[in-house]
């Protein structure tokens, strides 16, 4: 709990020095880099002592002005990614308070990417700490269906639609890996594939080709890009085996 409170304190210090704007919370590495000057070299405060996992940050508040947060006392900054071995589960709020076993706080939706399916409908990913949902809207913007998928240990998602009507979602997971979800055209879960992301790369998007395979795009610190595709569920390979294409701008 003390470590969570320390991270909140550091984030509020950062915010004070940046005209009230919060650091990036959609990318854990970028978050750490942003607040690193306020903690020195000790990165251990970013890891929950209970499970040894990084705290789960709230992606919905990334880069926002603190003055635009309606109620910091009920807006989550981060929480334990998993319940701890001793049964505790801590949630830290933007107001600085850290509470145990909070089960019914107002959370905010983090809008993921949207895509258009073969049916010309818009599919949107919505995620929060309590799970994620997919909404399907008509071509004129009317919500038609919503599927809730419950708690998942990944947050930021990238959406893509296959030519066969399947929905593809790529999630960034707390342990740094990626998960590819394949869903049927009506939103039913089909399968989950895992992928270890290339080191020091940021996932920026996903797309599906006419072959129904998913492509994932990464960018690197030196403005290079990597494009990978999935061959079969759970089996990934670079476009050129052994030598991913690198594009430098």
């Amino acid at each position: 709990m003390c470590l969570a409170a320390a991270v909140v304190f550091v984030v509020l210090q950062y915010t004070q020095d940046h005209n009230g704007f919060l650091p990036v919370t959609t990318d854990y590495a970028a978050f750490q880099a942003a607040v690193q000057p306020y903690i020195g070299t000790d990165a251990s405060i970013f890891v929950s002592p209970g499970r040894g996992l990084p705290y789960a940050l709230n992606p919905a508040i990334s880069g926002l002005s603190l003055w635009n947060i309606p109620d910091p006392t009920t807006t989550v900054l981060m929480r334990d990614a998993r319940r701890n071995a001793d049964g505790s589960f801590y949630t830290a709020f933007l107001s600085g308070s850290v509470q145990q076993d909070v089960v019914n706080v107002p959370l905010v939706l983090s809008l993921g990417s949207a895509n258009v399916g073969v049916d010309n409908k818009t599919h949107i990913s919505l995620s929060s700490f309590t799970g994620f949902a997919l909404e399907t809207l008509s071509a004129t913007g009317t919500v038609e269906t919503r599927h809730d998928y419950g708690i998942y240990d990944g947050w930021q998602s990238f959406a893509a639609g296959g030519s066969n009507g399947t929905l593809h979602r790529v999630f960034l997971r707390y342990d740094g890996t990626l998960a590819l979800w394949n869903l049927s055209p009506d939103g039913q879960y089909l399968r989950d594939s895992r992928l270890l992301a290339p080191p020091k790369k940021t996932t920026v998007g996903a797309a599906v080709g006419g072959d129904a395979l998913t492509r994932v795009l990464w960018s690197g610190e030196r403005k290079e890009a990597l494009l990978w595709r999935s061959l079969l569920p759970g089996v990934w390979s670079p476009r050129r085996p052994g030598q991913p294409p690198t594009v430098r701008s």
């Binding site: 002005s65 905010v108 258009v116 010309n120 949107i124």
Partner: protein, 92 residues
């Protein structure tokens, strides 16, 4: 530039995000920018994502500073068709 989409006519669409509910969508045919469409949605924050429908209609996802989201649907010429608001969410 915040998003890239490819339309059914194989044209490319670039989304440029400004501040305070403003942005631009560029339509690119081949290598030429053939249209620049101003988009706006007061109070909507920043344009975050763009997709193009079967009729080349534009669908823009906005992230609001008040923690809400909006899906704006526009015609191919940029006229607003509808806006769907995604409010704050309360866990069950």
């Amino acid at each position: 530039m915040t998003a890239l989409a490819v339309g059914p006519n194989n044209r490319k669409y670039l989304l440029w995000s400004g501040t305070a509910g403003r942005g631009q969508v560029w339509t690119i045919t081949g290598r030429v920018v053939t249209r620049k469409t101003q988009i706006s949605l007061p109070g909507a924050g920043q344009a975050a994502s763009l997709v193009v429908g079967a009729g080349s209609d534009l669908r823009v996802l906005w992230r609001g500073t008040d923690l809400t989201g909006r899906l704006q649907t526009l015609s191919a010429t940029g006229a607003q068709v509808s806006v769907q608001v995604f409010p704050m969410y309360h866990s069950p």
